[in-house]
Symmetry: none
Subunit: 299 residues, 2 copies
């Protein structure tokens, strides 16, 4: 399982260190990546391992975050409802989404009981359909939630209907791996980037599992179609890329380059290679490293 | 170590099964892949593990191949000198080429002694510089070797200078990982396939680390440019594929599809994905599974 907890601290080094330390030291859990952003005032960690050790590590990190962060003083660019803002669990390799949902719910229950923080379950782990959307769970952020937590609509899934005095609330979820894939256009026309984003995203009838917005990269003299792909099987990277290229070409714009932000599952990239090389009958099991990963002992 | 033995049987299921069975059942050796090709009349297996178990498994499979194959009746599109045609050992991850050379020579000696088949050492394992080239070792195939094996130039490195009556001879080598990548053309023009192969291969001034021959896939009504890439950093798959496509287009021929035969290292395919998706600043450490492989204990 992969877990990508987001904590509301991106500035104070000693607090960040106190949160990261348990993520690093838990046997059976492996910290792959962490990034603190001072503008967002937020810390994002990527942890992989078996569900047990990963949950243990995140609980210990959460306790450190709750001890070190006072949300009454927190300011940052990113929407948030608590010191431990979101805890998504992501299925990896051999684990199914259904299992991940169970992990997320079990974690949410224990988290709220041990740390006295109300928990909202979101995306695949949600009990309530309207809580599938993280945006809705975080609506109005901590400040609005403080007023509305007692209302029927906003009662937490676990814990008492009142915020933790300093740590607020936490959203715990299960979701698919998310690929952050941006295509930069050789143009400064932000309207074009926005209309291409609209043309390809699922919400306006484009490609399934694709979110996209147009972004102005003013410093680089480019515009970007900033894309999240949540379902690279339904919408392979090659299909997304070619859709952007075609939409751009219609507007007389060329693709400058693309970027993959953060981690990606091998299959999504291998599928792109297979597509462009016209590989017939290609199977990820032909990739040496993926096979080595499946052997009982690594050679 | 990885071992990729090639056997001269791609049609008779019971013979193929008898060869594969020992590769599958040897503790400490892992059969990653095997493919039988009826046009080539050839079976290629990929085995990984520690040198001892891998050699043991290949010896047992070789004995089965020698029992089941009569080279006097063998016809196929691929050059060959014996029932156990080639046995290359390939260094993987933690093993050095020098160690692989020792393994190959030890295996060649034992193979020739136990199975009474003359052995030629090739590539990195060659004693004689002119035998570094597998093409030279296999020159004229079995039929020519039958006449020339007594000559000074063609004496085997191990075993008596006469062919095994039904199993011919065997080439045992140590080499770098080799990508077998075939591009099938929507054409029956074997001359075109041959001239494209000539245009792209290193030996006639084409792409570095690329070997290529034109092959007639009569049963499928296609011709193939059958390619080995020994240096996918110098000659990335995308470059090789585009070279074939361009050469074919010049002759008015389209690429039908390509095939990756056997195993490939992830980097070679990831590089193709990065090329076609125009990924700037892509790094293999962004690929989740490759990071998992480097962890001390697999999650």
């Amino acid at each position: 399982v992969e877990c990508v907890p987001n904590f509301s601290e991106g500035r104070r080094r000693e607090v960040i260190d106190s949160i990261i330390a348990p993520l690093r030291s838990q046997p059976g859990a492996h910290l792959l990546d962490w990034r603190a952003d001072p503008d967002h005032n937020r810390l994002v960690a990527t942890l992989v391992g078996s569900p047990g050790p990963v949950q243990e590590a995140v609980l210990r990190a959460a306790a450190a975050a709750i001890a070190g962060i006072d949300m009454r003083e927190h300011r940052g660019a990113h929407p948030r409802i608590g010191a431990v803002d979101v805890v998504p669990f992501v299925p990896l390799r051999s684990i199914a989404m259904a299992e991940c949902v169970e992990v997320a719910r079990g974690f949410g229950e224990r988290f709220s009981r041990e740390l006295k923080v109300p928990v909202y379950l979101y995306e695949e782990a949600a009990f309530l359909p309207e809580r599938r959307s993280l945006e809705k769970v975080r609506k109005g952020e901590l400040e609005t939630l403080a007023k509305e937590i007692g209302s029927r609509d906003r009662r937490p899934d676990y814990g008492e209907p009142r915020l933790h005095p300093t740590a607020g609330a936490t959203a715990v979820g299960a979701r698919a791996f998310l690929l952050a894939f941006n295509v930069n256009l050789d143009s400064t026309d932000i309207d074009a980037a926005r209309s291409i984003a609209r043309a390809i995203r699922a919400s306006s009838g484009g490609l399934p599992g694709v979110k996209a917005v147009g972004v102005d990269l003013a410093q680089r003299g480019l515009v970007q179609v900033s894309i999240n792909v949540t379902d690279p099987v339904a919408s392979p990277l090659a299909v997304v890329f070619e859709a952007v290229r075609e939409q751009a070409a219609r507007r007389g714009i060329a693709v400058a380059e693309s970027e993959l932000y953060g981690m990606a599952p091998a299959e999504a990239l291998l599928a792109a290679a297979a597509h462009y090389l016209k590989l017939a009958g290609f199977d990820a099991s032909q990739v040496l490293e993926l096979r080595l990963l499946d052997l009982p002992g690594k050679p």
